[in-house]
């Protein structure tokens, strides 16, 4: 419990988009579970982090929500990726990879420096 990480600003949106891309339409609980599982429980999402992020993505038009019955027959809001969300995901994933490579290169142990 103690060594759980906070979700870094900006990365949560990417995780949500990717989750929806992989699993298709999903409610908030499902998204949270998936992110926590993927992070092997190193991340924990409380509602105050998750729902504002979902609302923001919805406002940006990357995802849209609709009310549907859930697996246990309760009404739940299911989010799905929109076309612009897909584009956004592709762009952000690419940028993230580039950044990650760059940082990795920086942090790599230096060898053969003149």
């Amino acid at each position: 419990m103690a060594d759980k990480l906070d979700v870094k600003q900006g990365t949560l949106a990417l995780m949500v988009l990717k989750t929806l891309d992989v699993l298709g339409p999903l409610h908030g609980y499902g998204i949270a579970r998936r992110i926590e599982e993927t992070s092997r429980n190193r991340l924990s999402l409380n509602y105050g982090t998750l729902y504002p992020a979902l609302l923001k993505l919805e406002q940006e038009g990357c995802i849209k929500g609709e009310w549907r019955p859930s697996e246990n027959n309760r009404r739940a809001k299911f989010y799905s990726l929109t076309a612009s969300g897909r584009k956004q995901l592709a762009r952000e994933a690419r940028e993230w990879h580039e950044t990650a490579e760059l940082i990795a290169a920086f942090l790599a142990p230096r060898r053969g420096t003149p």
């Binding site: 908030g28 924990s44 509602y47 609302l55």
Partner: protein, 896 residues
């Protein structure tokens, strides 16, 4: 694009708030249930599962708030709520609200009003083209009344030839005319100017043209340029005025133009004319008399020339002519010429008074702000429990800060609104004050810059105040709540700030009160000055029947004298009239005519200035009617007429100057000097037949100068005035006397109809206005400071309720508690007094020029001020001290 989309979604979010909240609750509820179900599935007890799910959620309320913050425009929405809360809170503490609003309002109002005047009079750009290059030349001599003796035309010529850095020198000479209309006659104050006057001044006409070089000299038609005000008032802004003829001084004058609105300089005038209108101004006396000084000089620096250059050149010319024409500059009089930037000359008299008022208003603003700060600080501490409660209910520090800000902004804006109301009234009052001092009073209006400035000031204040109140720190709520929410402390640091503010208030009040005291004493001293007349039951009026231009028409003088004789007879016959005199000018008015005077057998010591005396005329009853005491000899008699031996009566000042220790009666004096050549007055010896007491003709604050009276009948009847003494209530005679005078001279000008009491009052009133204004500021400061002391002590008492309760239960009696609080206040009071008296010592020196008959460090005033402040301060301390003594230890200790 994305931002726009988000913004639109957010705005939409404001309006769908309730439905969205419902949706969100349902969404989170579903989340919670799914999570609970999951935990149960893993084998948890349902209650435990629900608890775990709730823990994982991190708080539904907080999450709702976070989503709301993302959904709409939370800043805008909560601002609305803040304003509503703030209004409600302020309504619930009306005392606090009204004290703050009134304090701020008065401070802002006074500042705005006075700054408006200051800007209008001193700071606004001049309408004159390149006004910065204009300079005013002032010719002064030593001794009373020698501040500005003007220049003679030959002197102007010397400077025009000798000072190369002065590109143009314009001449201006004051004159007044009777302008005849269809039915009435009005006195027109005019400036006689050279053709280059407007070009030098850099002023343009709004209609027609201004004078030019071709209008100079003799043999040209007289022309007139109206000032904008006079054009509007007298001619109703007649758009066809240019080219019209008006009658003045028996001549026909053409109006050639209307001047743009501009400050009146050097005098407040109605019109400008070329010199040809006045025979005097084109006479040999004017043009050649080196000592006939009645011209003002305004000059324009040539491009590139500096003020220092001009000063050096002017000094060189002055040095040359004083050696060349020794007889015109007696060394004892110390002739000198100053070159003064025009703007400075324009505001010279207004400056000190206005800066004084501005300083006072700023002081009041400072202590008002200090008081508001103090009240807010104390209120902030009292409100700690409320703020803690709000924080516990989910309001973060920024939100609390905004709530405070909203309250303070509302207070400031209400104060500013009241301030505008006060300022509007104040500007009206101050314009009448400024008119006495400045040529620019006509430019004053409620100044938007000033208003903006004070508004900005109050908003800044609101901001500062909102950030001086310390908020409960995040995470410390729990301890604050468990403390019972009754913890009103205020840290020591904060109390120190409050105390400092109170000390500052007291000391500033003391400074203001000292100023008010000195000005009040000045006014009292001045109103106690004896006018020199034995009674105030005297009515004076000027009825000039003989115009200078017509004075030498055969028979005109005799006709005027005959009409004066009829007036005297008819007025004397009126019931209630004791005496009627005739003379020029009437008592307590300065004579415009003065010449050098010598006494038979008295030689001047080397380096001694030649005495000059005012020439006044009087008929035999003048002195008795005016109540001027005859000290020696006799008054004029009806036998002192034209052709009989020339006689004079002199005043005490002249008698002491020339006839110390001898009886002046029977001695002879004579007018002397070059200038006499150009006047109808001879330099023959005249026998002194009487000595009369001095009168305050130059105002109550001016020491009387030498005066020579000549018999009215021995002189041309120019500028006659009636002096009427009644048994009581002389003012009631005014309409009756006016009717009599009108009956004899239906179209004559009747001017300055005033009782002696009114003339006296006119002399005192500017000082009184100063005293009243500063006293008002002082009183205001005193009240605010008193509220300040009482407030801080009351706060201190309420913060120490527990402590006092403990002291009392341990045996301290009421007297001791009361003394403890009084001592606390006494320390503040004493520190404030010491600082204030020290400050007053420096500040009052700055207003020396406004004082009369009292020294800036007048100990009586300072002691009185200190006494008053102490008395008020003790009363202000007493109330909280008594309240502290009434604390019931039993109740205090039992309450949490």
């Amino acid at each position: 694009m994305r931002y726009l989309r988000v913004a639109l979604a957010r705005i939409a979010g404001i309006f769908t708030r309730n439905r969205a909240d419902d949706d969100l609750r349902e969404e989170m509820q579903a989340h919670l249930e799914m999570e609970t179900a999951e935990y149960i599935r893993r084998g948890m007890h349902p209650d435990e599962a629900r608890r775990q799910a709730l823990v994982a959620s991190g708080g539904l309320t907080q999450a709702t708030e976070a989503v709301r913050a993302q959904r709409g425009l939370p800043w805008l929405q909560s601002t609305g709520a803040d304003v509503r809360y703030a209004l409600r809170t302020l309504r619930r503490s009306p005392a606090f609200t009204s004290v703050v609003v009134i304090t701020l309002g008065l401070g802002i109002g006074a500042n705005t009003a006075i700054f408006s005047v200051l800007r209008g009079v001193l700071l606004k750009p001049l309408p004159h083209r390149e006004g910065d290059r204009l300079v005013y030349l002032r010719h002064s001599i030593g001794g009373p009344g020698g501040d500005n003796v003007l220049f003679s035309v030959p002197e102007v010529r010397d400077f025009r030839d000798g000072a190369r850095s002065l590109g143009g020198i314009a001449e201006y000479s004051p004159f007044s005319f009777t302008l005849r209309g269809e039915e009435d006659a009005v006195r027109v104050r005019a400036g006689l100017v050279t053709g280059n006057f407007f070009d030098v001044m850099g002023l343009s006409p709004v209609r027609g043209r201004v004078t030019r070089a071709a209008d100079d000299g003799v043999g040209v038609p007289p022309v007139m340029v109206l000032t904008h005000d006079f054009w509007r008032k007298r001619f109703g802004g007649d758009s066809t005025i240019v080219g019209k003829q008006v009658r003045m001084e028996g001549k026909s004058v053409t109006v050639i133009g209307v001047l743009e609105p501009a400050p009146y300089f050097p005098d407040r005038v109605d019109a400008f004319l070329n010199m040809v209108i006045s025979e005097h101004h084109t006479s040999a006396m004017m043009v050649q008399g080196r000592t006939h000084r009645m011209t003002e000089m305004i000059a324009r620096l040539v491009p590139g020339a500096t003020l220092e250059q001009a000063r050096a050149e002017v000094a060189a010319v002055h040095a040359r002519i004083t050696t060349e024409f020794r007889e015109a500059y007696d060394p004892g009089s110390n002739y000198r010429v100053a070159v003064i930037p025009f703007r400075e000359a324009l505001g010279a008299r207004a400056q000190l008074t206005l800066w004084l008022l501005m300083g006072a208003a700023a002081f009041v603003m400072i202590i008002a702000a200090a008081n508001v700060a103090n009240l807010t600080l104390m209120r902030g501490v009292r409100r700690e429990p409320e703020l803690v409660a709000r924080a516990a209910l989910g309001a973060g520090p920024p939100r609390l800060r905004r709530l405070l800000l909203a309250e303070n902004l509302i207070l400031s804006l209400m104060g500013a609104f009241l301030g505008v109301v006060v300022a509007r009234g104040g500007v009206g009052l101050l314009i009448s004050l400024a008119e006495r001092y400045s040529a620019r009073a006509n430019e004053i209006s409620l100044d938007l810059v000033a208003l903006g400035f004070t508004l900005g000031l109050s908003l800044t204040l609101a901001l500062l105040l909102s950030f001086t109140v310390s908020l409960p720190r995040e995470g410390a709520f729990a301890s604050l709540i468990s403390a019972g929410g009754r913890r009103t402390s205020g840290s020591l640091r904060k109390q120190r700030l409050q105390r400092g503010l109170v000390v500052a208030q007291i000391s500033v009040s003391v400074v203001l009160l000292a100023g008010a005291g000195l000005l009040t004493r000045t006014m009292l001293q001045l109103s106690q000055v004896q006018t020199g007349l034995r009674t105030e039951e005297v009515l004076t009026m000027e009825v000039p029947l003989l115009e200078l231009a017509a004075a030498f028409v055969p028979g005109a003088d005799a006709a005027a004298k005959e009409r004066y004789g009829r007036m005297l007879r008819e007025v004397r016959a009126l019931p209630g009239v004791l005496d009627v005199g005739l003379g020029s000018p009437v008592p307590l008015r300065r004579s415009q005519v003065r010449f050098d005077v010598k006494a038979e057998g008295k030689a001047l010591a080397t380096g001694e200035a030649m005495p000059s005396a005012e020439l006044r005329t009087a008929n035999p009853e003048y002195f008795r009617a005016a109540g001027i005491p005859l000290l020696r000899g006799r008054p004029f008699a009806s036998t002192d007429e034209r052709g009989s031996a020339p006689v004079v009566i002199i005043n005490r000042t002249l008698a002491e100057r020339y006839f110390l220790n001898v009886d002046p009666v029977g001695k002879r004096i004579a007018w002397t000097g070059d200038v006499l050549r150009f006047t109808p007055i001879s330099d023959e010896w005249r026998t002194v037949v009487g000595v009369v007491g001095d009168t305050q003709d130059g105002g109550l604050d001016a020491s009387p100068g030498p005066v020579v009276f000549m018999p009215f009948t021995q002189m041309l009847a120019i500028g006659g005035g009636l002096v009427i003494r009644a048994d009581s209530n002389v003012a009631r005679l005014t309409p009756v006397v006016m009717r009599v005078v009108r009956g004899i001279a239906p179209t004559a000008l009747i001017e300055n109809v005033m009782t002696v009491a009114q003339i006296k009052d006119q002399s005192v009133s500017p000082r009184r206005l100063n005293a009243v204004l500063i006293s008002l500021f002082g009183a205001l400061a005193l009240i605010i400071a008193a509220v300040g002391i009482a407030g801080v002590l009351a706060f201190s008492v309420s913060a120490r309720t527990n402590e006092i309760g403990i002291r009392m239960s341990l045996g301290a009696d009421r007297g001791r508690v009361q003394r403890m609080i009084l001592r606390e206040g006494g320390v503040l009071l004493a520190s404030g007094l010491v600082l204030g008296i020290a400050g007053a010592f420096f500040a009052t020196r700055l207003i020396r020029g406004l004082l009369f008959g009292v020294e800036p460090h007048d100990p009586v005033t300072l002691i009185a001020v200190a006494g008053l402040m102490t008395a008020i301060g003790i009363v202000a301390c007493w109330i909280p001290a008594v309240r502290a003594a009434r604390i019931d230890p039993a109740i205090t200790m039992r309450s949490p």
